[in-house]
Amino acid sequence: MLRLPEIHFEKRLKPPRWLGPAMPPIAVLAALIIGGLILWASGRDPIDIYQRMVRVSFTNPGALSATLVAATPLVLTGLAAAITFRMKVWNIGADGQLMIGAVFASAAGIALDEQGLAVSMTVMIIAGMVGGGLWAAIPALLRVYLNTSEVLTTLMLNYIAPLILFYLIFSTTSYWRDLTTEGARVFPRGKTILEGAFWPEYGGGVVVPFGFILGIVLAVLLTVVVRSTRFGFQMRVSADSPTAGRYAGIRTARLLVLVMVLSGAVAGIAGASQIGDFSHRLEPKILQFAVFGYTGIAVAALVRYHPLGVVVSAILVGALSNAGLALQGPELPLGLIGVNQGLILLLVAASEVSARYKVVVGRRPRTGHGAQQAGGDLDGGPAEEPASGGVS
């Protein structure tokens, strides 16, 4: 019978320090190579397509602007995911928190009078944070008091939030609904916020949305908080071992609620940025179909939930989706771009394992029943055979 080479994982005793940070870029490169092969196999010129992708994403002011616009919500939802996922608290509800943040921020924007840009922006950001934070507090409190899984509750709240948005705009004559014109009464839409409260853009040729800058500031701030504050110390201890956290006298339930609310508040800022930077009014359909929250999880996972890394990966993912939209056409279906995006996510996720384990490809003589599982402990891997395969 044909025997296939066995592949087994051997734990690295001491993973080299550089390996962890080096893995994501290596994985991205590998994904581009594999993606290139797929493009080539489908009869297209990968070099040409990659060049065009870079062109439509980065190398002209308009393209770069589009990339940054796409990256803006992702930086913020990526940070929201990074905060909780680091602590093994699975807040997948950034979408809902973003939407409720947008509801609050647009209410603030509508209610504002000519207070000056700085004041009105501050009010909108705070309103967004309150909305997102409150929405995240629901699953946090449910978990603390009723021990429900936050995965399920945040997910379910993601279905409820858009219903609220649709209700506000389509089913009622609510405060958010524009009733000023005949057209708006027939085709319901949200009230536009005060023009003086539109968020500014920066840069000459390249448009840098204010929300993007806010994301960078938040990423730096979060890094400092986690590294150098007593609160961050609690986060790091609980992330590493919740039992050790409890043992150290950390009030873990309170910490969990705080972290969830903080995460929701950051997602809420993404909602405020959607209103202030882009749509200037509550747009239920756009927010529902954008799935910024879920993409944010991928963005954060790409860089292992490191806040500063989130900025970089948000630009990358933003560029990819932007390129996909720009390049799609009869000769390049959107699916092929999707394959490339999927490959990047898959390989980066897999690279996490390769950083901790060596992949050994080689034939180990088949052992009798029971030997595999009993002798297969990772610290006692096979030493009898030279590794014919390398490290991926």
Binding site: T229, Y247, A248, G375
Partner: protein
Amino acid sequence: MTAAGAPTRDQDRHTVSARGVTKAFPGVVANDGVDFDADRGEVHALLGENGSGKTTLCKILTGLYRPDAGQVLVGGDTVAFRSPADAYEAGIFMVHQHFSLVSSMTVAENVVLGWHRDKGRVFNRRQVEEEVARAAERFDMHIDPRAIISRLSVGERQRVEILKALYRGARTLILDEPTSVLTPQEAEQLFVSLRRMAAEGESVVFISHKLDEVTALCDRVTVLRHGRVSGSADLRTSRVDARGLARMMVGRDIAFSRRSRVDALGDSEPALELRDVSAVEAHGTLALHEVTLSVRPGEILGVAGVSGNGQVALAEVIAGLRKRTAGDVTLQGKPLPSGNPRAAADRGLAYVPEDRLGTGLAPGLTVADNCVLKAYRQRELGRGPFLSRIRILARTRRLLKAFDVRGTAESLVRQLSGGNAQKVLLAREISSEPQVLVVATPTRGLDVSAMESIRSILLEAAAGGAAILMISEDLAEILDLADRIAVISRGRIQGVLEADGADPTQVGVLMMGGSLEDTGVAAP
């Protein structure tokens, strides 16, 4: 009890031998040219510290690992085991520390589970039960073949494992630290059975690091150190005592610190007091039942018992990690709130938990972070909401130096050896100058030298006036260190004895749930 296919050349002197066995793992040579013989009719001890290569050697003998160099011989013939099944065929069985029994099935069912002695035949329950009962009787192992495993004690389960091996035709039985889960009485009973097996011509390999057991039970001893044979002796003919064995094991003379009980403790008020304290497990069963204990400043109260009898709950209730369902805990005369670890720590309680990596230490954080695991709230470690790295590192270096920890402030706790990790934990807890120190299994799994430094650290803390509650499964350790011994069984304190002149047999009776009256001793 010969299995079909077992080697027939039993007349040879050696049943199982290793010749020049070498086995390396990434970063460590576990066995380096080891020679070993297990003779017919003997109990052969394999002695060594943790990490000396005992278990690796046995895994090679039972086909779990294959040696990089050297040979395994059975009955004088070179064999190449490719799996445990091959070793079974040759009559070599190992009883691991973690049993592999199906707890919802009976003893007899477990004995035949996965084993086809007569291929194709249906399971004849009655016949198997009879055979198991006969074997149990023959080796003095009291066990009912119809009993369900989940109802059996740990000692009884171990007997099932041994019976399983014998039923399957074991000629050589390897036991990996079998007494670590037993009371003194159960261990005694096990020794009787093992001697009986040897007398019947089987051979028994007994892995241990307890010297007194080896001298009491075994015929020969092979000592391993750093993967090599550092000595061997025939205990029937030579006069090697525990001290001599210890020297072979460690490579130098060691003298364990013992408590000198001359200093009177006086009538000082207890620093820690428990009155009728009860607690439950997470799934609702009773963990502690009306426990009353007190520890005075400068005193070490040893809590002895077989593991899993409420020790964890006792420690956690005092440390505030578990809520008590009834009773009071007072620290320095003041009542302690239930289930509040921060309050307990703030009132001067230090706790070294049984689960070091995971509860007592955060393994993925640095030594420096772990040194301030509880102190991070202290004003002098930072300013406002910020922590000062410089001050944390300064404190860490001071602790590492004072407690002789090998490791840097920046290394991850996960990368430390067991002994060094435990030292970090003790260093942090003791440096907080606690009034009361609760330590659980402080030396378990540590090598002899680390064990000795932990012991002297504890004695020093007691001399400095701390009241110490020491939970341990190692009765010898408790007898060495404690002033008084409280024995716990099924969540109840069976009795409290003065450690001076305490008889291990008495303690054993209490450990199995007997009362002081059963031992014929009046309570102090």
